[in-house]
Symmetry: C2
Subunit: 296 residues, 2 copies
């Protein structure tokens, strides 16, 4: 029997669950509306695992993607405003209700991991992904590893400043990329080539800032607005190339579309959890070389 | 006999070489003026290795820090404008002249590695360091690994934009952090508390952008201007904290001074080369998990 991986994607309105094979192909899926409260969410997850036949016999590994900040040990949700969860021991609550081992991660990171393993970023080790929807989310891959940062807050390219003292942002700051390049920035649904050109103008600027700092090999755009396809990626890549060439960087990372769509969250969560427990993900778990013992 | 590590720091005016022990303590040092041309530089390095007794008997490992972009295999200098080197096979040239194994890396990355192993960032896995001198250089540590990026261009926080369409910068762009927060930004040597407050104002802004993207645990300031000490770090940290609090990030990474001073380049190069060859540095060399074989 080939390996079956199980992933969960907890969104603001629904919880999507799926079984994928080792190539990332979806073998089965289930979903439920998202209930209120962390323990109810864990119960819904356990129910979905039961429906998928993934809740018993040998403690299967389950990856759980959440729209929020996650503890570096992948056990708790530090903060997920949409779900009203704060310091929620989600992995514990799931494991109390199903015979599984749960690994919690950020949903943008899960989507990026799916693209890295099975999609548009397959085998590319330095990638920055922006999900452009009603807001802008993001994930970073550096040296083939997800970047979570010291508090799980990394990847917020959408809240880098593009216009000092610009439009007020829900995050409390002003002039964030999110306010100029997201689906809500235009004040109406993006529909025309001019609309996408304007979003691309700002996205290209934002990506140029990321490029100066991280020099990724590839940029990926996902999220609802990216359904526009080349109408969005072309102006974004043009603006990015123009800004980088002006700084003497001859090579511009391509700006491509994410490939895995709305399933990316549970696919990536499933793969990441399996990779992590198999030791294939040397992320935060990697031991620090002992200080003072160079090359020992 | 305890382990002896050998490092070289090639600067625009001089080449510094040193032997350090496994705690990073400098046991011996030598230097020479930097000659013109890559092969002459390699010959000078070989001469310094001879003086240090590190050029034979068993193919010692030597770390070589250069002020420029380095190939991801640590063998060549892709571009070092100050040294007028481009696609220079520096490791080969050194190995032809001395019985050593050479590992080439960027000098800001070397300095950061020294701080990570022996200095102000000991054991801290997510660190952003800015060297503030006549210009602003930078290095990044993510998940305990140096970040080089796809082309060796990562870490250029000094050339992120802080003022759109602002002051022209030598990089070809406008409004770079470098033009507002470096030693030359004021138009006179930074001397007063007001001078450092101004530099700190801009540095804090620049670091806030890095924080949104990478969420480091610690910021380090090095370079000549950092000799000002708390006169520089205090206003920088105040501004950073103000900007992050405005975005709902309750914890601000501390802004500390680098500890190892001008020796950091050769100390870090020595340690990095030893760590890399001992397998303790899972950076670009780390194998990518085979795509399509999740958790295999």
């Amino acid at each position: 029997m080939s390996q079956r991986l199980v992933g969960i994607d907890i969104g603001g309105t629904k919880i999507a669950a799926g079984v994928v094979d080792a190539d990332g192909t979806v073998l089965a899926r289930e979903q439920l509306p998202t209930p209120a409260g962390g323990e109810n969410i864990a119960a819904a997850v356990a129910w979905l695992l039961g429906r998928l036949g993934a809740d018993g016999g040998g403690g299967a590994t389950v990856g759980v993607a959440v729209p929020g900040y996650v503890s570096t040990d992948h056990r708790s949700v530090a903060n997920a405003a949409n779900l009203e969860l704060k310091d929620a021991r989600l992995a514990d609550w799931i494991e109390e209700r199903a015979d599984v081992r749960a690994v919690v991660l950020n949903d943008a990171n899960a989507a990026l991991w799916a693209e890295f393993r099975f999609g548009a970023a397959r085998g590319v080790r330095d990638v920055a992904m922006l999900t452009v929807g009603t807001g802008i989310g993001g994930g970073l891959l550096v040296n083939g590893q997800l970047v979570s940062g010291a508090h799980g807050w990394a990847g917020e390219a959408g809240h880098m400043t593009v216009v000092p003292d610009g439009r007020p942002c829900g995050c409390g700051s002003r002039g964030c990329l999110d306010r100029y390049a997201s689906g809500t920035a235009l004040g109406h649904p993006a529909a025309s080539a001019e609309d996408f050109a304007e979003l691309g103008h700002w996205l290209g600027y934002g990506l140029s800032q990321v490029a100066m700092l991280l020099d990724p090999e590839l940029f990926l755009l996902g999220g609802g607005v990216s359904a526009a396809g080349a109408a969005l990626t072309d102006p974004t890549e043009r603006r990015l190339a123009e800004l980088l060439a002006g700084r003497g960087r001859e090579q511009t990372p391509p700006v491509r579309l994410a490939q895995l769509g709305p399933d990316a969250g549970f696919i990536g969560a499933a793969a990441y959890a399996a990779d992590l427990l198999a030791g294939g993900v040397p992320a935060a778990e990697l031991p620090v070389p002992a200080a003072g013992r160079a090359g020992a």
